[in-house]
């Protein structure tokens, strides 16, 4: 064989090996990152009809189904190629649906709103409208009456006002003064109803003082001021008025953890503690519409969303569902007014979810469909929780998802979250985590100091700890994982604060890491205060300072741009050129300094991307770049 023929043969042989592997990976990626077949489902008040929506080939589709016959019919579909997302699809009454359609094209984020009128034969009629506002509450027990919050111009400023109006009023943007539910409040950011469908609460914000004020609408239709808090440090979520007249609230204004309290709203005084979890902040609660007691409170335990029930009957009902679908978790996502028909979501850390229609009377569940139809052929790895106890007593929770044993590359990706203050990781099914696991990588996520959900002290302990205590927690989690599992290579990978962390981890611990992927990162801490002119505003400087700290010398010494000479592993930097939170300048500076010091750096700048992705295409393009980088630098 001539040298030329040998060469051709070798190239073809290599191509025949590489191309199927690449094609297989792309297929796995396409399947795991496919849009949801059923994003969510809901029953109408009577429980006779249901809706669900999802996506096929990026087309948003809305369906209705008959809960008796389980027959379904498509009632809305976006145009092929139009990048849209359905939001807030709810039943307004037994025959009317409201939903919003968000256009997620590269340079916009506009939305349209719709009402759909349906009948028992599943026929439908669609009306779109462009009113600026949102549905507060469909008032499902009142025919053709809704609570809607509309942006209305008052003098020179737009204000959010709450109205009780008809469907026709909303479509025609007809918001009369007489239909206003209560007197005007200024600078309201949100109105919401209690579980008895009464407009009950409002939240306004003082931009100068950075304070959030909570308001209660009393029985005389007057707004009563509740607490005024700095929401960066405290929580205060009103739930509803209890039978004894006190207000049930979730708050941490007098405790480390967010707990359920009685609140005397006339005296503005926090009263009896109703329920508190020893380790976790409560994040949700629901009130019983009949007896006005609290039915349950919700929180994340070991990264999974769980509920504590106050009534034995509800606890038994949940236990039955949990037993029936074990080892997965069963969540009721929608119920009819009689509370005997439910839509269930069955999910876990390694199950992206299936929706069932559950009839409580017959105790039968009918499968509506999988949340992601394309996930059904995969065996995803379950995540496990790690508890790391520090000598000083503070505890850190971490989650480890191992690689698929079939493809295991024996590589651990340490994946710190963004923030770092007030953000957290959970064990909710994550497509990115499971894609990486399927192609052979294990992933470690750590709820380091600063993370949400573990009390105020834990959250505040992360302030000003960039590259210090936060990374101590990450390294403690890594140490524990390495005691239990063997990996040949370890890389850091994260976005936003996680991008900073990915960089500082390899700078401070060069022997522990083999590469780093720093996405949308901050790399020059003093630049955080000086990257955009409007950040010169005093309050913005204060907000940033309360996260990153105010010690400029420390910022300088803990900034990767000033430590680029200490990077000893290959590093990939990715950034969105439209990012105004962690501007691409951070990445460009770090890249410049790394190149100046002759370090192995690759960069990937995305022109139409902000702080993270708004559409699937740019996200998948970035994942391809990350995957190729890992394969190249780790030689596998």
């Amino acid at each position: 064989m001539s040298l030329f023929k040998k060469l051709i043969f070798m190239v073809l042989l290599a191509a025949s090996v590489i191309v199927p592997v690449q094609a297989e990976t792309n297929q796995v990626q396409q399947q795991i990152f496919a849009s949801a077949s059923i994003a969510t489902a809901a029953l109408n008040p009577a429980g006779t009809l249901g809706l669900f929506y999802g996506y096929e080939k990026s087309k948003a589709q809305l369906f209705i189904f008959d809960s008796q016959t389980q027959t379904s019919k498509q009632i809305f579909s976006s145009k092929l190629g139009q990048k849209t997302r359905i939001q807030d699809a709810v039943w307004v009454d037994d025959k009317t649906i409201y939903f919003r359609l968000v256009d997620t094209c590269k340079s916009c984020n506009q939305f349209k709103q719709f009402f759909v009128f349906v009948d028992e034969r599943l026929n439908s009629q669609l009306e779109s409208f462009n009113t600026r506002g949102y549905l507060i509450n469909p008032l499902r027990d009142k025919a053709n009456q809704l609570m809607y919050a509309a942006w209305v111009r008052q003098n020179t400023k737009y204000q959010l006002e709450a109205y009780k109006v008809t469907v026709e009023d909303i479509i025609k943007s007809r918001f009369k003064r007489d239909n206003r539910i209560a007197d005007h409040l200024t600078d309201v950011r949100r109105y919401w109803a209690d579980d008895n469908n009464q407009l009950r609460f409002a939240q306004s914000h003082d931009k100068e003082e950075l304070l959030t004020t909570y308001w209660l609408l009393d029985e005389d239709n007057d707004w009563q001021k509740l607490e005024q808090i700095d929401s960066r440090f405290y929580e205060f979520t009103p739930i509803g008025l209890l039978a004894n007249g006190a207000l049930a609230v979730l708050t941490n204004i007098k405790s480390d953890k967010v707990a359920l309290y009685e609140y005397n709203w006339q005296e503005r005084d926090l009263g009896k503690l109703i329920y508190q979890h020893a380790d976790y902040d409560l994040i949700s609660a629901e009130q019983n519409t009949k007896n006005k007691q609290i039915d349950w409170v919700g929180y994340y335990q070991n990264g999974e969303y769980v509920k504590h029930y106050f009534s034995q009957q509800l606890a038994d009902k949940q236990a039955l569902l949990e037993r029936s679908f074990a080892p997965d978790n069963a969540y009721i996502v929608s119920s009819n007014n009689a509370d005997d028909k439910h839509v269930l979501l069955i999910t876990s850390s390694n199950n992206s979810g299936k929706y069932y229609l559950y009839n409580q009377t017959s105790q039968r569940a009918f499968l509506l469909g999988a949340k992601y139809e394309t996930h059904q052929n995969f065996e995803f790895q379950p995540s496990q929780t790690l508890q790391i106890k520090h000598p000083d007593g503070h505890q850190v929770e971490a989650y480890l998802t191992l690689a698929n044993p079939q493809t295991d590359k024996k590589v651990l990706l340490v994946n710190p979250h963004g923030g770092p203050i007030g953000i957290r990781d959970t064990q909710h099914f994550s497509r990115t985590t499971h894609y990486l696991s399927q192609i052979g990588y294990s992933i470690l996520k750590v709820n380091f100091r600063g993370s949400e959900g573990f009390g105020r002290a834990h959250k505040n302990a992360g302030r000003g700890q960039f590259g210090i205590a936060i990374e101590e927690d990450i390294m403690a989690a890594l140490k524990l994982v390495k005691q239990q599992y063997q990996f040949n290579k370890t890389c850091s990978m994260g976005g936003s604060y996680g991008g900073y962390s990915a960089a500082i981890l390899v700078i401070d611990h060069p022997t522990e890491f083999d590469c780093a992927i720093a996405r949308f990162g901050v790399f020059d801490l003093n630049l955080l205060l000086n990257d955009i002119n409007f950040k010169q505003e005093e309050n913005i400087q204060r907000i940033i300072g309360e996260v990153v700290g105010t010690d400029k010398a420390l910022h300088q010494s803990r900034s990767p741009v000033n430590l680029a000479n200490k990077v000893s592993v290959p590093i990939l930097l990715t950034a969105g050129l439209k990012d105004q939170r962690a501007t691409a300048e951070h990445t460009k500076r770090f890249e410049y300094m790394l190149k100046k010091h002759g370090k192995a750096v690759e960069s990937y700048y995305m022109p139409d991307v902000w702080h993270g992705h708004r559409n699937r295409e740019t996200m998948l393009e970035e994942i391809d770049v990350i995957e190729a980088f890992l394969q190249r630098v780790l030689n596998h």
Partner: protein, 178 residues
């Protein structure tokens, strides 16, 4: 009174007219004295940018050719002193800049003073136009200068002259000169 009115009129005339910002031509090394100073900034928008005005130690205006959103760098020799971006005109409307420190910059003698990337993403939300912003893109500006003006940037240190405080350029160009 007459003096005050004449001064105000003169200032108004200067502000309304101003001279065209003298852009630096081909790259070359120059002799530096205490009156030599350069300003560099960039303008970027997906809208048509018609003109930009600068006021302060000197009054300047710039006209722009229609572009397709690409970054337009401006390097000019100006007198050292304090300046501010005072007006920005797109194809749709004028954006007068408020009297805040956000738009001020300082040009120091013996330096190339980078003062930011002026960006306008023209959108209208809830009755208000989003104003232009200035982003500190020092690394991009430095790379631009080193690629397009290697002689001048080797001859003069580059510094940040815009809002706030930022020592990145001083540190980098200081290290370069060692």
């Amino acid at each position: 009174m007459f003096k005050l009115i004449s001064t105000m009129l003169a200032a108004l005339m200067l502000a309304s007219c101003g001279s065209t910002l003298p852009e630096f031509g081909q790259d070359r090394s120059i002799n530096v004295d205490d009156k030599t100073a350069f300003v560099v900034f960039a303008v970027e928008s997906d809208s048509i940018i018609e003109s930009l005005r600068i006021s302060g130690t000197g009054f300047y205006k710039m006209q722009f050719e229609p572009s397709d959103g690409e970054v337009k760098y401006v390097l000019a020799q100006v007198s050292p002193g304090s300046y501010r971006f005072s007006q920005f005109k797109s194809g749709i409307r004028d954006y007068p800049f408020k009297e805040t420190d956000w738009w001020k910059f300082n040009v120091k003698a013996g330096h190339i003073n980078y003062v930011g990337h002026l960006k306008l993403s023209e959108s209208f939300v809830l009755g208000e136009f989003f104003p232009p912003i200035i982003i500190n893109e020092s690394a991009s500006a430095l790379i631009y200068l080193q690629e397009h003006y290697p002689l001048l940037s080797a001859n003069l240190p580059v510094r940040w002259g815009g809002f706030g405080q930022d020592e990145f350029l001083q540190r980098v160009t200081g290290q370069n000169s060692k």
